[in-house]
């Protein structure tokens, strides 16, 4: 073999270097800065801490977790159309635990996460057992859960929300670290929700980058047949990824409930589009096999900046939806263009 190496005419190509403009993350950072500069010029109030920055950070925290929930199954090339309802069921579980058992904050949170993970695992089991497309399975699950959530709230509450929150949950809503001081030193103006989301981001990042399970999920997304023939327990990985998706949906539901100030049936109603928007803007492939956790956070930040900016410019809700939709289409087209250009240069994008 050694001698053969020196005589083989076939030469490897020089290392393909990704040009800077083809790195999606850098493009996102530039876009984010440009958007902030634009909105600040148009409305200086955009940089007002109380009015904009703190609520925006809270929203970014919630929707980054929503994006990660979708990312967890996009890694397989699957979709979770039931993110919203999984969040709603989690919020219900947390609310019920508090309302009936007077459970403290941490127990309510754990119950909510368990509910989300169970629903996700259920979707995963159905998908891996039947081989039915994840889109169809989770869409049907979503539909069933819409009915179930309304029924449960009608049975266990006076209306569509639980009265009251566990102790400490309203602090999550209103406080920032600036409210907690040690002597004269107070924390920054960052909402208490942010570190929770940050932990989720770090854990998911670690999972897909360094953990065996996360990598095997990605390999399954890349080529399920090859994964099976390489000894990866493909079915089990599908269940795990969907359970993770459900768990993160549950966490997002909890964070949004904290932000709203109640566990209500409407939690998660607006989760579906943002859940795709953030990962896809951030460079996660819909076909599976590659994810970008950092990109998802940046994608969420961009979406929320646009949302807040247009809001300040006094656009109506319907117009906001229109523009967010257009931004998604533009981002996807640009991404495709970037791909094509990079391919022509002979580098993987």
């Amino acid at each position: 073999m050694k001698q053969e190496d020196t005589t083989t005419p076939e030469q490897p190509r020089p290392p393909a270097r990704l040009p800077l403009w083809a790195n999606p993350r850098i493009g996102l950072v530039v876009l984010l800065i440009a958007l902030i500069a634009l909105f600040t010029t148009l409305r200086p109030a955009f940089l007002n801490t109380q009015l904009t920055l703190v609520p925006m950070q809270a929203d970014i925290s919630v929707y980054a977790v929503v994006g990660l929930s979708q990312l967890a199954v996009l890694s397989l090339g699957h979709m979770n159309m039931a993110v919203g309802r999984m969040a709603a069921m989690s919020a219900f579980a947390s609310g019920l635990l508090h309302d009936r058992l007077d459970a403290p904050l941490i127990v309510a949170l754990a119950g909510g996460l368990a509910m989300g993970a169970l629903l996700g695992a259920l979707a995963g089991i159905i998908i891996s057992r039947t081989g039915v497309n994840s889109f169809v399975v989770t869409l049907a699950l979503d539909f069933a859960l819409i009915g179930l959530v309304s029924l449960l709230y009608a049975t266990f509450t006076d209306g569509v929300a639980f009265n009251g929150l566990p102790a400490g949950m309203s602090a999550l809503r209103t406080d920032t670290f600036a409210d907690y001081c040690a002597g004269d030193v107070c924390g920054p103006e960052i909402p208490l929700l942010a570190p929770i989301a940050l932990v989720a981001v770090l854990v998911v990042g670690l999972l897909f980058r360094w953990s065996r399970v996360g990598r095997e999920v990605l390999m399954t997304g890349s080529n399920a047949k090859a994964a099976e023939l390489s000894g990866i327990p493909v079915g089990w990985r599908v269940v795990q990824a969907h359970a993770l998706s459900g768990l993160l949906a549950g966490l997002a539901g909890f964070l949004l409930s904290a932000n709203n100030g109640s566990f209500s049936a409407g939690v998660g109603d607006g989760f579906l589009l943002p859940s795709f928007l953030a990962p896809v803007l951030g460079g996660t492939l819909l076909v599976g096999g590659a994810v970008s956790v950092l990109g998802t956070v940046l994608g969420t930040a961009i979406t929320q900046v646009i949302y807040k900016g247009l809001n300040l410019l006094q656009f109506q809700v319907d117009e906001l939806k229109l523009y967010i939709g257009l931004v998604l289409l533009a981002a996807l087209s640009l991404d495709r263009l970037r791909h094509v250009l990079a391919e022509r240069r002979g580098v993987p994008a």
Binding site: M1, K2, E4, D5, T8, E10, Q11, P12, R13, P14, P15, A16, L206, W210, S211, R212, V213, R215, E216, L218, M219, S222, N223, K225, A226, A227, E228, L229, S230, G231, I232, P233, G289, A290, P348
Partner: protein
């Protein structure tokens, strides 16, 4: 009637056809023979407009025809029945026959005409079938005949039959050939591609034999040859010998892998094979003989309905590849490199590392450094040539891809390796290097089951050769590396009628 002259066709790394000429006369059956990879399929695909030849021309009735698409060939009067079924099971016979040229009236399918047309085609074959029957309800033999009816539905002059009896019983095959005779009597020309020499001698008038992309016999009357002479023509290539690691096999010891009377849901009947430590067992057979399926059943991917698998003498039930790897140290390098062996969009590191992550993981996390070291060790050992370990598997050449596909099993320290068609589509030089590598692995004590349809490859590498046909072992022989003698015996086993069923 049809003359294909000086046809050449190259694919990356392979010269599939090199100046081949095929001459057909109206009213005759012409046999096209050759081993796997001799160029028969390529020739058929050129004649039916699937491929364009690099050089040469096709002349039909004195007119130059250069087919740009299968449809053009069809309209020129060349019909083909492929080895694989090409009917839509949910459609009726009439719909299937009319598929390429639906008669329409005001934009709607004219069903009356469609049925009449189907009846006419079925009539040509003396087939008494209702055109409205769904194809799914037909027997395999009936479906085969409907395929021929379909090929005749256009004004077909030349009919190409690629292994038409592969899935038929003897009686059904006789019936089919009676119909073929009738067609030639009405002035059709028929090209018959078949591995069943008995049938060829019974039906064909003339013969062209391909070997390594060249014609070694050209439109000769078949009556001028004996069966053995044809086999000689097919296999008699100069045997290129490679210096391989010499090895000794201890056959007295407990075999590393043993299949004892294995039957599977896929239709394998009582397959028994043994592979000793340090031995290469060549598993030869035609495409579709059930060798890959056997390997997959062994790995737990298909149901085993009878018999036993023993690893180092211990009966085992293998549930999946992960278990085969971890508990029994069996690795499988699949035939379909791109579809099953590799993760094309993933870097080499991950493609090789995938089997060792479990071993390397600390608290569920994989240290980059440990992975890099393992991957570096095996890319060097196998001589994988890549720009960097981060290069995507999809960007590598075929030979390097195959090495990556193999590397993950070596990294996982397998001691039983099933290698399925390891050198398909790989150029000659890399192929030789690969053979050397496989021999070296066996020399180090690995038990290797080599599935290959490449007879020279088997004769080069194997210690013993088992020949499979129709999901059963037809026979086994010790390989004395005398290519001519061994290949003749193997070919005879292939063409032998299946042992009493």
């Amino acid at each position: 009637m049809l003359l294909a002259e000086g046809l050449s066709k190259s694919f990356p790394g392979v010269r599939a056809l090199d100046g081949v000429t095929l001459q057909l006369a109206a009213g005759s059956v012409h046999a096209l023979l050759g081993e796997n990879g001799a160029g028969k399929s390529t020739l058929v695909k050129i004649l039916t407009g699937v491929y364009r030849p690099d050089a040469g021309r096709v002349v039909l009735d004195g007119r130059d025809v250069g087919f740009g698409s299968p449809l053009e060939a069809l309209h020129a009067g060349i019909g083909v029945v492929h080895q694989e079924r090409n009917l839509v099971p949910e459609f009726s016979i009439a719909e299937n026959i009319a598929l390429q040229h639906l008669p329409n009236r005001l934009g709607m399918v004219d069903r009356t005409r469609m049925r009449a047309e189907a009846r006419r085609c079925l009539g040509m074959l003396d087939l008494d079938l209702d055109p409205d029957t769904r194809v799914a309800e037909l027997s395999v033999a009936q479906a085969q005949l409907v395929e021929i009816a379909k090929a005749l539905s256009v004004d077909t002059r030349v009919l190409l039959l690629d292994e038409p009896t592969a899935s038929l019983t003897g009686d059904e095959a006789d019936r089919l050939y009676a119909i073929v005779r009738k067609l030639t009597a009405t002035g059709h020309a028929v090209v018959l591609v078949s591995h069943k020499l008995e049938e060829v001698f019974a039906v064909a008038d003339t013969v062209t034999v391909l070997r390594d992309g060249r014609s070694v016999a050209q439109a000769q009357p078949l009556s001028g040859y004996t069966r053995d002479e044809i086999v000689d023509l097919m296999v008699g290539r100069a045997y290129a010998s490679v210096e391989l690691t010499a090895r000794t096999v201890d056959r007295a010891a407990t075999p590393a892998l043993e299949l004892a009377g294995l039957s599977t849901r896929h239709g394998h009947r009582e397959v028994s094979l043994t592979v000793a430590r340090g031995e290469i067992l060549g598993l030869y057979g035609l495409v579709g003989a059930g060798r890959t399926e056997l390997a997959k059943a062994l790995l737990g991917l298909d149901e085993i309905t009878g018999g036993e698998v023993r690893v180092h003498g211990v009966p085992v039930r293998i549930r999946d590849v992960g278990q085969a790897l971890r508990r029994h140290r069996i690795g499988y390098v699949p035939e379909d490199r791109k579809g099953e062996g590799l993760f094309l969009e993933q870097p080499i590191t991950r493609n090789v590392g995938v089997t060792v992550w479990r071993r390397l993981a600390r608290f569920g996390l994989i240290p980059d450094r440990a992975e890099r070291d393992v991957v570096a060790e095996y890319t060097e050992l196998l001589g994988i040539r890549a720009a960097s370990p981060g290069q995507l598997a999809g960007q590598l050449s075929g030979g390097n891809q195959q090495k990556v596909s193999l590397a993950k099993w070596l990294a996982a320290s397998c001691d039983i390796l099933i290698v399925d068609e390891p050198t398909v589509g790989i150029d000659v030089r890399t192929k030789a290097a690969f053979h050397e590598l496989i021999a070296r692995l066996a020399g180090q004590g690995m038990a290797i089951l080599l599935i290959s349809s490449d007879l020279p490859e088997i004769v080069t590498l194997a210690d013993r050769i088992a020949v499979m046909g129709e999901a059963a072992v037809r026979g086994e022989l010790v390989n004395d590396h005398d290519y001519d003698a061994v290949s003749q015996r193997v070919i005879r086993l292939i063409h032998a009628a299946p042992a009493a069923v």
